[in-house]
């Protein structure tokens, strides 16, 4: 026991000694008269790992290191973060981190009264580099990575030794790769043809997107002065640029495909409920968007309940989303049930009127939610298993997007199963195909209508809970989806799921393909125009349910 505490004490003493050495160096650098000497010391400081160094350097660069001059000495200091009521703060000495004392009272300073230690732009640049070098030793891998990329782009050969020493310590593949990339990027500016050539080859193999602009520059220079750079450099850079560009194109393709698929899934999730209420039942439910909103707000409420019960993190809180999906199905289903019993059942024979009445309902619902939850968007936080993403081939795959795709598949299968494999589904299809015959055979059509509408509304609610993970939840949420939802159902052809699935897929992918060229809004307009033109060719949508009825 005693041994151990002794050992700790020893370590501590060593640490102190070390720390004081860095502090001394810092003070020397700040007080040195010769800029070259200052730069040299600063450069050396990059080898240390003491957190005081970047702190003081950053302060120096930002002009918040001050010098306290006495008759015989100059003492650099910075101000304590804690201000008193007059806005004054204690002066903390750089040399030992202790406050400046006058007698036995700490001295207080006002920042605006003080003159900061001199810096030149060259010096500030030197400090910046050191700070970046420091950042490659930062415990946060993300900061480390960004610093390495930035330093690599400086193409300063002096940095290579830092990269290499870091490379020996670095364990994760991602960062090693970034370091190798930075070394290679630095080396393509090398005078030595062999090193340069090897670096170009390495970047080509790595398909480094970060180095592309440097390679292009080098290619241009080499082409302008082949005598200086030599033919192999020109060829190698051309080849490297070609391969990297092909890689980017592939990545873009994968990215577009993924984004298209995820938008398609969003549309499908949002429109599936409508495919039931409008597609199967023929009710123009303009309040469909608001049923989605009901689901989203239910998710918000469930989230708050779980937050109160389990705190804002942990497994308890993370499982809220499962409960939210179920609750939003029930709540939106109930709203749908009331809607059907209260209004829609009077209007089955008057589809245009049901459009108007449900629009009235949508206005009322919007206002209800605006009253209850306020006009601003509410914050629905994702459970930890839905936030974050992974990167593959330089394409970002977000977990919540992947979840939406999976969820879309799930509810389509669920709906398909319900409609084709259960007695209820059989009744639903019977009523939709021939109401009077179904009624004559003893199906309680009224009840089937009610259940079908409630089910469709419930699906809309689940969609709302799902969409709360990827978009804003506010009183106008429903309005954002309603036109798209109708487009999906109309394009897909009324009354079948295959049509809805393929229409949402078509719209989603087309939209994402058009977006890079036309921008979000123009892309959307083009898609709308394309749908109108497409209906020229197939007025009843992609998949037509054939009937013998004249009015179809």
């Amino acid at each position: 026991m005693a041994n151990r505490s002794l050992a700790i004490l020893g370590l501590f003493a060593e640490f102190l000694a070390c720390a004081s050495e860095h502090r001394t160096n810092l003070v020397t650098a700040i007080l040195a008269e010769d800029p070259a000497q200052q730069l040299e010391i600063i450069r050396k400081l990059a080898d240390t790992s003491d957190p005081i160094v970047p702190q003081v350097l950053a302060a120096w660069r930002g002009g918040t290191i001050y010098i306290f001059e006495t008759n015989d000495a100059k003492v650099p200091f910075y101000l304590d973060a804690q201000l008193d009521s007059d806005g004054k703060a204690k002066g903390i000495r750089v040399i030992d981190g202790e406050p400046l004392f006058e007698g036995d009272k700490p001295m207080l300073f006002l920042a605006s009264d003080l003159n900061s230690a001199d810096t030149s732009s060259k010096l500030r640049k030197g400090i910046k580099t050191t700070l970046d070098l420091f950042a490659i030793g930062n415990p946060d891998p993300k900061i480390r990575r960004d610093a390495v990329i930035k330093l690599g782009q400086e193409q300063n050969p002096e940095n290579i030794s830092y990269f290499e020493s870091r490379l020996q310590r670095e364990k994760t593949g991602e960062l090693r790769k970034t370091l190798v990339e930075a070394i290679a990027t630095t080396q393509i500016a090398s005078e030595d043809a062999a090193i340069r050539f090897a670096a170009i080859e390495r970047l080509r193999e790595m398909r480094s997107i970060n180095a592309l602009s440097f390679l292009e520059q080098l290619h241009k220079d080499a082409k302008a002065a082949p005598a200086k750079f030599g033919e192999p450099t020109v060829d190698a850079t051309r080849q490297a640029i070609k391969e990297i560009e092909a890689y980017i194109a592939r990545g873009n393709l994968v990215g577009t495909a993924f984004r298209g698929l995820s938008l398609a899934a969003v549309l499908l999730v949002a429109a599936l409920g409508l495919a039931i209420t409008f597609g199967l039942m023929g009710v123009i439910n303009m309040a469909h968007g608001e049923l989605i909103m009901v689901g989203a707000y239910t998710a918000y409420v469930v989230q708050n309940i779980f937050k109160d019960a389990f705190g804002a993190a942990g497994t308890g809180f993370d499982s809220y989303f499962i409960a939210a999906l179920a609750c939003s199905f029930v709540s939106a289903g109930l709203v749908g049930l009331v809607l059907e019993r209260g209004i829609i059942r009077f209007l089955y024979r008057r589809p245009l009127e049901s459009l108007l009445a449900t629009w009235g309902v949508s206005l009322v619902l919007q206002q209800v939610f605006r009253h209850t939850f306020g006009a601003a968007n509410v914050q629905v936080s994702s459970p930890s298993w839905l936030s974050g993403s992974f990167v593959l081939q330089d394409v970002l795959f977000a977990y919540n997007r992947i979840f939406v795709i999976g969820f879309a598949v799930f509810i389509v299968l669920l709906t398909y199963w319900l409609l084709t494999r259960t007695p209820l589904g059989l009744q639903i299809r019977a009523v939709m195909q021939n109401r009077s015959m179904a009624s004559a055979l003893g199906v309680r059509t009224d009840r089937v209508n009610m259940i079908t509408f409630a089910f469709g509304s419930g699906l809309a609610g689940m969609a709302g809970a799902c969409l709360s993970q990827i978009g804003n939840v506010g009183p106008s949420l429903g309005q954002n989806y309603i036109v798209d939802c109708f487009m999906v159902v109309v394009l897909g052809g009324v009354g079948n799921l295959v049509g809805t699935v393929s229409a949402s897929f078509g719209i989603g992918v087309t939209d994402q393909i058009l977006q890079p060229w036309l921008g979000a809004v123009l892309g959307k307009i083009t898609v709308l125009a394309a749908i109108i033109l497409f209906l020229q060719w197939r007025p009843a949508g992609l998949f037509v349910t054939r009937t013998r009825g004249l009015e179809g």
Partner: protein, 391 residues
């Protein structure tokens, strides 16, 4: 066929027109402000706005009430008419704008000078709008062309019923998104505003406002007479036949698509004219005017007043908007409840609107009476033989 205009109706129209076109403006202009009969400048401006809305409602009714086409894009044509005249009015501002430049303000801060250097920043398609008559013609032909193209595409492929509604809504939604874009050269989401002159007169002076009101009233009268006349013609008959059973008309050898196209274009023009008079009276036109909600609102006016009658939409537009003006001032929060509730109640319980209300009440009364009489009188055998009418 009924005679074109029964005498009684002519009298009613004449009285309404006299009150609307002559009496109210005179009360505004010549009666001293202290008098009970004085109509304030503010009121006359508001009434002018209502009358423009009434024109829009008439155009919705022509489509929905008489042809069975529920267009949810009628506000688009209203706004297009407004934009056409608004462009002219904006160019009339000249150098009196915020930036004291030759071109309208929004073109200055969007740096159109870089995009259209050869015209000093004015987009080429704006230039003809310096001429009032060109702008006035554009009020008619621009919406007409848009309506023709969309209608031709829609009716040719026999898109009807709710599909037509949904597509027309998509059309206005797409146009709305388009006009919200700054680089679409129509002022982006700020729209066109800050007008100063119209035909050489100050657009904000009470006198101009009064004349604009008179113009709106005359426009409404003309639109009413055109629609009314149309109902007396054979064309109007076919129009209503299409509403009631399109397939029968089709099988009788009529090209229903051409009829519908004509009505669609005509109603677009009527709506656009209303929009053109609306803009100088409210002093602004922006893309939210063509948002899908606005079209739906116009449909509510029509439904509340009573579709399928000509007075209904006018009554509906004026009363709903008067209610809106009152409600948004008195209890702004509840306005959407009222509007939504109105929608539901009217659609579910009053399919014929305000105009049909007396008839509906009379029906209720007679049914109530009959039940009472039936209870007191002995049941007759004929009553049991009555055919069952399914609702």
């Amino acid at each position: 066929m009924t005679p074109a205009f029964p005498k009684r109706e002519v009298w009613w129209i004449a009285i309404a027109a006299f009150i609307g076109i002559v009496l109210l403006p005179c009360l505004n202009a010549f009666v001293p402000a202290a008098s009970f009969f004085h109509v304030s400048n503010f009121s006359i401006n508001i009434y002018g706005k209502y009358l423009c809305y009434a024109v829009l409602a008439l155009s919705v009714n022509l489509l929905w009430g008489y042809t069975g086409l529920l267009s949810l894009g009628q506000a688009l044509f209203f706004a297009l008419g407004g934009y056409a005249l608004g462009m002219h009015l904006l160019l009339l501002i000249g150098q009196l704008g915020q930036y004291k430049a030759d071109i309208p303000d929004f073109m200055v801060f969007l740096e159109f000078a870089k995009r259209f250097p050869e015209t000093g920043g004015l987009p080429p398609h704006w230039i003809p709008f310096k001429n009032f008559w060109f702008a006035a013609a554009a009020v008619v032909w621009v919406p007409a062309v848009v309506a023709f193209i969309f209608g031709w595409l829609a009716f040719r492929s026999r898109i009807k019923g709710v599909y037509f509604s949904i597509l027309s809504q998509a059309l206005t939604y797409a146009a709305c998104l388009m006009f919200f874009r700054n680089d679409f050269t129509f002022g982006g989401n700020n729209g066109l505003t800050d007008f100063k002159f119209i035909l050489g007169a100050d657009v904000n002076s009470p006198v101009t406002k009064r004349w604009l009101y008179v113009a709106s009233a005359i426009l409404l009268l003309l639109a009413y007479l055109v629609c009314r006349w149309l109902t007396t013609t054979k064309f109007g008959l076919i129009q209503r036949a299409i509403r009631d059973s399109e397939n029968r008309v089709l099988f009788s050898g009529y090209s229903t698509a051409s009829f519908k196209l004509f009505v669609f274009v005509l109603s677009a023009i009527i709506a656009a004219l209303g929009g053109a008079l609306y803009v100088p009276q409210v002093g602004i036109i922006n893309p939210s005017e063509m948002a899908p909600d606005k079209s739906l609102e116009a449909v509510v006016w029509c439904a509340v007043g009573g579709r399928g009658s000509l007075v209904g939409p006018i009554l509906g537009a004026v009363s709903v908007n008067a209610l809106k003006s009152y409600a948004t001032r008195a209890f702004a929060e509840q306005w959407l409840y009222i509007l939504g509730g109105l929608f539901i109640v009217v659609v579910v319980f009053m399919p014929k609107g305000l105009v049909g209300l007396p008839e509906q009440l009379a029906g209720l009364k007679s049914r109530f009476c009959r039940r009472k009489c039936a209870a007191s009188a002995p049941e007759t055998p004929t009553a049991t033989l009555k055919p069952v009418v399914r609702e």
